[in-house]
Amino acid sequence: MSRATPPSPAPAAVLANPEMKKTREGFGHGLVALGETNPNVVVLVGDLSGSTNVSFFAERFPERFVQVGIAEQNMMCVAAGLASVGKIPFLATYGAFASCRSADQMRVTVAYTDLPVKIAGAHGGISVGPDGATHQAMEEIAIVRSIPNMRMVVPCDYWETRKATIAMAGDAHPYYLRFGRESVPVVTKEDTPFVIGKANVMREGGDLAIIACGVMVYEALVAAEALASRGIQARVVNLHTLKPLDEDAIATAARECGAIVTAEEHQIYGGLGGAVAEVVVRQHPVPMEFVAVRDRFGRSGKPEELMAAFGIKAPDVLRAADRVLARKKPGA
């Protein structure tokens, strides 16, 4: 596990008033950076150029941009065909469709063939807001993790999304990148190390570990700050790669902290929490609490409002921390 620089607690002031930036812009900018250096990178989209920000690439490299229209199944397999002749295709649509509408194509044609198709699932999570349940993808981690050969990254902010986009182009396997719609707090820096499969410790602590991905890394940091003010030191682990999983970082957290809270903008079954639990029981069983959407469809509303209503804001992380600390064995 690599340690972010600096691993010291983010100053409370920064957390209270963070810079806000869209992860999807990180994706769009990452694509443009790739386009400049790698002529094999091509981009496909299913009639969602603007909202997935592949429009940035399309404007710069129109000859390497493929508009597929509203046909996600076809898009997944066209990408596979492109990959089979040496291209590095990125395809973009909303996560609900990227993960579900073309799941069979992802499984059989892309993953079983182990082609370097990079799937960008935009609009992940309840924070998608007013579009409502059908557009709030919250099952992708469970789906993608179950498919062999797939890799999966859920970056926490603009910079990490940009880096993940660039990094996955350099690995000859299929990837799923999940990001959101809204501006979210920037909690890493341009030069924060990012290595696929290596969790980043965002804050040191030994009383409990909060393991999070996506926008929940910020919520975890805020919760950790509140805990610190009560003298409780929470380690915050940014588990940006859901597959392959950084089992060491998880086992170390279990061993050194003795209690874990997971936090994700995803359904509670089979998500990051489930992935961590699978490692914990095999390596070092400790009490865990899950902050996640409790097996419910989303609904329309404002992003922040929904995150609160669905129980995945910093206060929810805090409550989970208190619950898990109450369960923690004295000696552990």
Partner: protein, 300 residues
């Protein structure tokens, strides 16, 4: 009298009301789609106020006709039509897309009274309607089933699976309408992923194909009447429309597919339609009754 069968003039008036509702509810929500709802307003009005046998408030009525919008994103039109037809108080339109309201961004059965099947992922609705039509036939019922699709949506393969199915099972109680507004999110349908010749495609899939100006009320009435006559195969009506129809600065511009007007733009649009944002908001707020005034009588 569940088929209202309003007159042509009444339908025109009603479609105008629906358009005003669409603009008003969008301006309040500050979120939602303008383009498709406006292009769907005329045939939607013909469906809800003439063609379909509806019994708002009695969803269990096994004799009523069934309808389903496969283009779930045109909720502004769907909800305005439903509100005007008496499914719920018009004031509810002002809660569109809010956490408190029951009008979700995309149709949701368990939130909105009158919705049979939830939607929002394109390409699925025609299949749903096939199941409805087949189920009704198994029950010996003559209820009809109406499906509204988009033209960009025709790019989804599932539509062609359903098209094949409906023809194979000779589902002649099924009538589909395509909002052929030539636009989708990223631009012109013909540039994004051409669907022409669309009528040939549907014919080759075994359907009775009708074409009509989707803003011409008499033409639409004629098409729906013809659809009722078709035996042994389903009918699809290619309703040639204009995205954003009825609002000068929205017409035929794909950039209005998925955005709402600002308050100022809404007021401007409503003034083009003979009212104002404030006035129409007031109407929605206080007009709690079933929206069809008693003076408006059906033709039959």
């Amino acid at each position: 009298m569940p088929r209202l069968q309003l007159t042509v003039d009444q339908l025109r008036e009603r479609a105008l009301i629906v358009r005003r509702d669409i603009i008003t509810l969008l301006a309040h929500a500050k979120s939602g789609h303008s383009g498709g709802p406006l292009s769907s307003a005329d045939f939607g009005t013909v469906l809800f106020f003439h063609e379909m046998n509806l019994t708002p408030g009695d969803q269990k009525d096994a004799g009523r006709d069934l309808w389903h919008f496969s283009i779930g994103h045109v909720t502004p039109a769907i909800y305005a039509l439903m509100g005007e037809r008496g499914y719920y108080p018009l004031i509810d339109l002002l809660g569109f897309r809010s956490l408190e309201g029951h009008l979700q961004g995309h149709p949701s059965k368990h939130d909105t009274p009158g919705i049979d099947v939830s939607a929002g992922s394109l390409g699925q609705g025609l299949s749903v309607c096939c199941g409805m039509a087949l189920g009704a036939r198994m029950d010996g019922s003559s209820r009809r089933v109406y499906c509204v699709m988009g033209d960009g949506e025709q790019q989804e393969g599932q539509i062609w699976e359903a098209a094949m199915f409906a023809a194979h099972y000779k589902l002649d109680s099924l009538c589909a309408v395509i909002d052929y507004n030539r636009k989708q999110i990223d631009g012109d349908v013909q540039d994004i992923m051409g669907i022409a010749p669309l009528a040939d495609k549907w014919r080759a899939f075994g359907w009775n194909v009708l074409e009509a100006d989707g803003h011409d009320i008499p033409a639409l009435l004629g098409a729906f009447a013809q659809a009722r006559e078709a035996k042994g195969r389903p009918t699809v009506i290619l309703a040639h429309t204009v995205m954003g129809k009825g609002v000068s600065f929205m017409e035929d511009d794909y950039r209005w597919h998925g955005v709402p007007p600002s308050k100022e733009q809404a007021d401007k649009a409503l003034r083009e339609m003979g009212t104002t944002l404030d006035a129409w908001t007031e109407r929605l707020r206080h007009h709690k009754e079933v929206a069809v005034a008693p003076s408006v009588n059906g033709a039959s």
